[in-house]
Amino acid sequence: MKMIFTMLDRFSGFLKLIGGVALTCMMLLTVVDVIGRFFKHPIFGSVELIGFLATIVVAAALPYTYKVEGHVGVEILVRLLSQKAQICIDIFTRTLSLILFSLVSWQMFLYAEDIQRTGEVSMNLEFPIYYLVYLLAFGMLIFSVIIFETIVHDIKKLRELKTK
């Protein structure tokens, strides 16, 4: 289990890197496009490309954001409870999140398969979109595994509290 988690950690670090590169590309691509437009040579399909890059940015950032507790929640009530109760609530809500994002990932794979079959392509570049949906589905899958990992961690913490 531990080995899987270290590998997962490395992988989400790698994803973070991809996200950073995609973000930089987004910026540079737009700048080049705008400058090109002034000289009557805009980049063909730049709007689509930027949308694709944005999808990569978010998909790659999902595991990292969850790890650093980047999502906003309402803390006021839970803060008043004992540490044990807090962990129990966390395990419960994380399980709900796990179910939600496993469903999302599963549906995303089905959706990707669907548009692969119908051969849907993007409007200008005629890029097959299903690649992107597969990528997002995969990002969601990794994200779900990360949520699972935090649940395991929480259970461990709870055990330690009990033995004390």
């Binding site: 910026m27 929640g73 309402v74």
Partner: protein, 438 residues
Amino acid sequence: MSPTFIGISGIIIMILMFLTRMPVAFVMASVGFVGFSCVISPDAGLVLLSRNIYETFDSYDLTTIPLFILMGQLGFNSGISKRLYDAGYKFMGSVRGGLAMATVTACTAFGAVCGSSPATAATMATVGLPEMKRYGYDDELATGSVASGGGIGMIMPPSVVLIIYGILTEQSIGALFVAGIFPALLVTLLFIVCIYIRCRISPEQGPPGERFAWSEKLKALLGLGETLVVFTLVIGGIFIGLFTPTEAAALGAFFMLVIALVRRQITWQGFVKSLMETLRTSCMVLMLIAGAVIFGKFLAVTRIPFEIAGWVSGLEMSPVLVMGVIIGIYFIGGCFMDALAFVTLTVPIFFPVVMELGFDPIWFGIIIVMVTEMGVITPPVGINVYVVYGVAKNVLKEEIPLEKIFKGIFPFLIAVIVGVIILITFPSIILFLPNLMY
């Protein structure tokens, strides 16, 4: 079960789930998905889940968000905040409470390149708090002005909350941006007046600093240059229709990076840090929007927003009174929940009501941003207060009690309320610039 009943149960369950500190975005998505499945069918719910998340992430309008966040982050990590503060300080430092006024003004200026309120507060706290400490400023005044001034960053374009409002209500982001300029300046002015009155009453709170020669003042003004250039390019470009908001954001971020590189003020680490911080914040914001979109679809099939809108307009209450109630809800909600999350959650509910009553959508956008801005500085969830508290602990190496910061904020809160009343009485302060656009 009628759709309305499912809708109301969904809202109640959602509020209960918020209290478990589960991320707001995930709660909205879960409740939206389950509710939609109950009203239509589970298959439809599953399809909704995957398509909406993909479409949100792929949307061109939303690409503005990471790019504007990146622009603010690059500004943060390249030290422009110090130069902005310096300019304000050289001009106003010699007046009683002048450093606090300089802080507030610098917050507005920084807000012109940064779209988030806590980021503005954190930036200016790092620069402003040590200076105010050095001149013997009262902790209450010092922390209060930084935390409240940070709130202006949310109204001053570019503003992430306004982008989200624009997307959820299908309003022009450009129009919302230019509409925010004068309200932001109004609040800045009110804050300065507020500091002035405060230091009149108790002069020991903000002793005057040293006076600078005009040559030095003018030199400090040069420090405003890059911010002014970036702001004019970005907002001006959107205003005259030269760029889309996404293009403006990308250009802004790029120029910020170039300026930082030319001045040798950004390191490789600083750049990577900006990227990572941007990834995290963008992911959080986009998940919130995805959650709000799913929840909004569920609300739409329950027809609750339309029923409320119909009901309210049937009440024959004066629209101003209804607006007062809505503002009250935003104010209270903003006290308990993150401003961004609260806006994404409630706009789908209240927007139809407000339209039914005949208010201007751009005007309403600015008003709710103003009101939720009060939320970021009021207890118990005033995020700016925690940010300033944290920065004070790191930078000043001393702990300023939270109550003290909240107390320091109180006069500024009154100033914001005065500002909201002025904007309700004179809507043209908000609307005249966007009206020039068409």
